[in-house]
């Protein structure tokens, strides 16, 4: 009878918020299993904007962020924030 707990990003979504920039929505699933049989699954979410600090993100998220958060996207996001 072995209990295991794993955390994995089971959903990484790129959502266009406005022209020129998108956000990345990350859902992390925390899965507890006993002898390979899943007992529970809970979710924790966070969202990354183009100016996000990626230093604490998992490699799969960072890879997508590098593709999505281009210099143009960062500029468009900064301009949108400035306009607010």
């Amino acid at each position: 009878m072995a209990l295991t707990k794993i955390s994995q990003n089971d959903k990484i979504e790129v959502v266009q918020i406005a022209d020129g920039w998108s956000a990345i929505q990350v859902r992390c699933a925390k899965i507890i299993s006993e002898d390979g049989v899943e007992l529970s699954r809970t979710f924790e979410r966070h969202v990354l904007m183009p100016d996000a600090d990626l230093s604490l993100e998992d490699a799969d998220v960072v890879a997508i962020a590098h593709a999505v958060f281009t210099d143009e996207a960062k500029s468009a996001y900064a301009a949108a924030q400035e306009a607010k």
């Binding site: 959502v15 266009q16 918020i17 406005a18 956000a23 929505q25 859902r27 809970t42 979710f43 924790e44 979410r45 966070h46 969202v47 904007m49 949108a80 607010k84």
Partner: protein, 205 residues
């Protein structure tokens, strides 16, 4: 039991059409072709879940209505980590309570937050960051949040705390509003305070 001319079919009979006046009990219904689907007048699940393919849902378009979308395609609940930040310098704080929960029904995100912080280093106006989904950025949208409890947050005299979420955002913007009259203004960040808040908004998609 399905009979033909008084006899009983073998293990794998094939029918073109079958009419049943009574009850048909089966262990499993399997779609025969990829395009055919299964049409039923009603379904009762005894002990199981309906599992919907990614991006699919319940289509209510056969019902009266004028909405632009009648597809109920999402339900989810979980946690997030709300964080107090300053608008000028985000800063960091020490939290004795830092709880965020959400339920997403369709495009609508319902959330509640409880925060108690101290020794915060942020400067400028107070923001609550970390909402679980980005809000819709449709033109002109904004969403109200309700503050149910405050402790130690310094407001201008005779002001009430209010809050909203702007379009295309993952932050709650607390404001203060003069009792009786006046315009809402920002709330300066406090080094130590606490709040309980709930709200809802439409997620971007």
């Amino acid at each position: 039991m399905i009979k033909q001319q008084g006899g009983v079919f073998g293990r794998n009979p094939t029918f073109n059409n079958v009419g049943i006046d009574g009850i048909l009990t089966v262990d499993q219904i399997v779609e025969k072709t990829a395009s055919g689907g299964t049409t039923l007048n009603g379904v009762t699940l005894k002990n199981g879940n309906v599992v919907v393919a990614d991006g699919k849902g319940i289509d209510f378009s056969a019902t009266p209505g004028t909405g632009t979308s009648e597809l109920f395609a999402d339900y989810e609940r979980g946690d997030f980590t709300p964080t107090i930040i300053g608008s000028t310098a985000a800063g960091v704080g020490t939290y004795s309570a830092q709880v965020g929960q959400y339920t997403k029904i369709g495009d609508r995100v319902f959330f509640n937050i409880r925060l108690v912080w101290s020794a915060h280093t942020g400067t400028g106006n107070m923001l609550i960051a970390g909402l679980p989904f980005a809000s819709s950025s449709a033109s002109g949208v904004a969403y109200a949040a309700t503050i149910g409890w405050l402790s130690g947050l310094t407001l201008t005299a005779s002001n009430l705390a209010v809050a909203y979420i702007g379009g295309g955002s993952t932050q709650v913007q607390p404001n203060q509003y003069p009792v009786g009259n006046g315009s809402a203004g920002s709330v300066p960040i406090d080094t130590a305070a606490g709040l309980i808040m709930s709200g809802q908004y439409a997620a971007a998609y």
